[in-house]
């Protein structure tokens, strides 16, 4: 097998597996940039997967399914925002509870939906013209999900908003120094609410992708720990939407390679590879902390109480 076939295969799989990671990571980047950690991603993805499947199966429209996933992710995130921003509950506890809630509830509500093939999966697309470019065509424009392209586009938009607009300054200010932001008249609670809910919406779609595109069927626990990878990828990406693209694709490629390379490398070692790699990169990120942009938002994880800080 020549290197081109390998490259096409790896990039193709990296995009397919990386897409849900990208969507959810983009959301988590925004939530954390505003100062709120959301460990509930896994639960939101599980609920998103179930809602997307149930809706697409009932209505016959995968887009309605994804819309339902978006909605349920948003509702769960709203709950997280209410608990952590309004009630100032511990963000980690609230997030973990939401993960448990989402996994448990999706299992309970999902009874009866397992064992059915989705009648209306979202088909992949091949872009005419572009797909016939040698190498790049089959790599990027053949048999891809529309959600992959939307995810990449979204990353660009969110990057521009975060770094090149006043909204971005506001969000970052709320995450770095909520007291100062409050002093200049920014509604800290509102900004945090919006960012957390955005995170939930995107996590919901990531879950929907799993049950409507990636593997068009529902089984309990099908998010299979991806939500935790997202938390790591957010740090890995230094809370930056474009770096999230790199992180998600890299993780997708390594995940795929952990099966491709089994003929030559011990499978136990390969199984560790994506995670070991994440640790190595995190160490490098730690060393590079001197650059201001790379560090975590200063107020990450801290509830804001006017006058206390």
């Amino acid at each position: 097998m020549d290197w081109q076939t390998w490259l096409i295969g790896i990039v193709g799989r990296a995009l397919a597996y990386g897409t849900p990671l990208l969507w959810a990571t983009l959301g988590e980047v925004y939530a954390e940039r505003a100062g709120v950690v959301n460990l509930g991603i896994e639960g939101m993805m599980a609920m998103g997967a179930l809602m997307a499947f149930a809706t697409a199966q009932t209505t016959g429209d995968p887009w309605l399914g994804l819309l339902a996933a978006l909605a349920v992710g948003g509702v769960l995130a709203l709950l997280h925002a209410f608990l952590t921003v309004t009630l100032r509950a511990n963000q980690y506890v609230s997030g973990l509870s939401l993960t448990l809630l989402g996994l448990g509830l999706s299992g309970l509500l999902g009874r009866g939906w397992e064992g059915i093939a989705l009648r209306a999966p979202l088909p992949n697309v091949t872009i005419p013209g572009l797909a016939s470019i040698p190498l790049l065509g089959p790599m990027l424009f053949q048999d891809e999900s529309i959600l992959t392209y939307l995810g990449l586009l979204l990353a660009l938009v969110l990057w521009i908003v975060l770094w090149r607009t006043r909204w971005g300054i506001v969000i970052r200010a709320v995450g770095e120094a909520p007291g100062a932001a409050d002093a200049v008249g920014i509604n800290v609670a509102l900004v945090r609410y919006l960012c957390v809910v955005l995170g939930g919406l995107l996590a919901g779609v990531a879950g929907g992708y799993l049950s409507v595109v990636y593997r068009p069927a529902w089984t309990e626990g099908m998010s299979a720990g991806m939500g935790w990878v997202v938390i790591a990828l957010t740090i890995f990406a230094s809370w930056d939407p474009l770096q999230a693209v790199g992180g998600a694709l890299l993780f997708g490629a390594l995940y795929h390679l952990s099966f491709r390379l089994q003929q030559w490398v011990a499978p136990e070692l390969l199984k560790l590879m994506p995670y070991a790699f994440a640790i190595v990169v995190l160490a490098f990120v730690g060393l590079g902390k001197a650059q201001r942009r790379r560090g975590a938002p200063a107020a990450l994880g801290l509830p804001y109480v006017r006058g206390e800080r």
Partner: protein, 380 residues
């Protein structure tokens, strides 16, 4: 008057309690969620049938981590369970410890080999069915490469891959079975990526050990054939699921619990009770879904391929599948996938001509047969 009323209430309460005590309460501990549509789903279907058939009361706990089985056994014993089934290999030692702690409770452990006076073991094993699916896979592959997504490299899975490969090579001596391990019993993303990796290598027919229909849906999306595992998976890809392995845990659950109800099985006499149920006990079934042994869409292709066999002469693969099924399905089994001569892939003769493998050799199998390609952790 008041006293009478209280007496009536007391009588009613005692009556209900008495009834509750008369009804046998049976607990099930599952390693996965009952919605997995694989291993745990199948056990739960068996539980429901046993409950209905025998009029017993059952409770279950799902997604129990293997290290925490004792905690949940404690819970079920406190709830009044007199019989407890634990359905994962990793529950074995915890169940044994609990059996010693609760000598008045009957335990039954699935897929292991340790027993006690109040603990039996049971398994509905698929190796014969895998062999039959292998016969079909060998006839249907065009590239000569068949993909197998395996959960863990443990004897049970290795036995199944070996039996499958022996089937493949019986009709297609040059075909190979390519194995990828995912190190999970249940992980749709891992199963999906492993299948994609096998497709990239040129495999065009698939079998697997993973508790979801992922391999089937991924293969079908590329127009490739596959065999279902554990639950009826025909509906996921009616054009592409050729056949598969189906389980009927209810056969074992009903039979064993009937024995308990009749007093045949007690907390004293289980040390040598091991249900190792195969085709002839009807605990396992060959089929894409119950009643459909071979998907009619692929019958013609299987009838078109003829092979020479030592005992049946020249025969179509379609007829061969039914012939072997009959030989293994009737009492007085007259064929076994591992009947000699069988060599491992390093060339060592593992089963000499004229011999069958013993039960112990089957459940401790670590070697790989000729034709298996790919990593094989623990290969002797």
């Amino acid at each position: 008057m008041k006293a009478l009323r209280w007496t009536l209430v007391a009588l009613a309460v005692f009556g209900v309690l008495g009834l509750a005590q008369a009804k046998l309460k049976v607990g099930f501990i599952y390693v996965g969620p009952i919605g997995d549509y694989g291993w745990t789903h199948a056990h739960n279907e068996g539980r429901l049938i046993a409950e209905k058939t025998l009029g017993i009361e059952t409770v279950y706990v799902e997604s129990v981590p293997e290290g925490e089985v004792e905690t949940y056994i404690d819970l079920l014993v406190r709830q009044g369970c007199r019989v407890i089934f634990t359905t994962s290999f990793g529950f074995m030692d915890g169940t044994l410890a609990a059996a010693k702690r609760y000598p008045n409770v009957i335990f039954a452990h699935c897929s292991g080999f340790k027993r006690a006076p109040n603990m039996m073991s049971y398994m509905a094993d698929f190796y014969q069915v895998y062999y039959l699916n292998g016969l079909m896979a060998g006839a249907l592959t065009k590239t000569g490469k068949i993909g197998y997504v395996g959960a863990f490299p443990i004897p049970e899975v290795k036995r199944h891959i070996n039996a499958f490969t022996l089937g493949v090579r019986a009709v297609n001596p040059r075909a190979t079975v390519h194995v990828r391990w995912i190190y999970e019993w249940y992980s749709p993303p891992a199963a999906k990526e492993a299948t994609e990796a096998l497709i990239a290598e040129g495999c065009d027919v698939f079998a697997f050990t993973e508790d979801s229909p992922t391999v089937i849906t991924v293969a079908a999306a590329k127009g490739l054939l596959s065999f279902g595992h554990y639950s009826p998976m025909y509906d996921f890809a009616p054009d592409y699921v050729v056949s598969g392995q189906l389980v009927h845990w209810d056969k074992i659950y009903v039979e064993f619990l009937k024995g308990v109800l009749e007093g045949k099985y007690t907390t004293k006499n289980l040390a040598h009770i091991d249900y190792w149920w195969l085709l002839s006990q009807e605990a396992v079934e060959l089929g894409a879904k119950p009643g459909m042994v071979i998907n009619p869409k692929h019958e013609a292709a299987l009838k078109a391929v003829k092979v020479k066999t030592p005992d049946l002469g020249e025969i179509s693969v379609y007829d061969l599948v039914y012939a072997r099924l009959a030989q293994m399905g009737a009492p007085g089994v007259s064929f076994d996938p591992f009947q000699g001569p069988v060599k491992d892939r390093k060339g060592l003769l593992r089963v000499p001509e004229g011999f069958w493998l013993s039960y112990d050799a089957l459940i401790t199998m670590e070697w790989a047969v000729e034709g298996v390609v790919g990593p094989w952790p623990g290969e002797p």
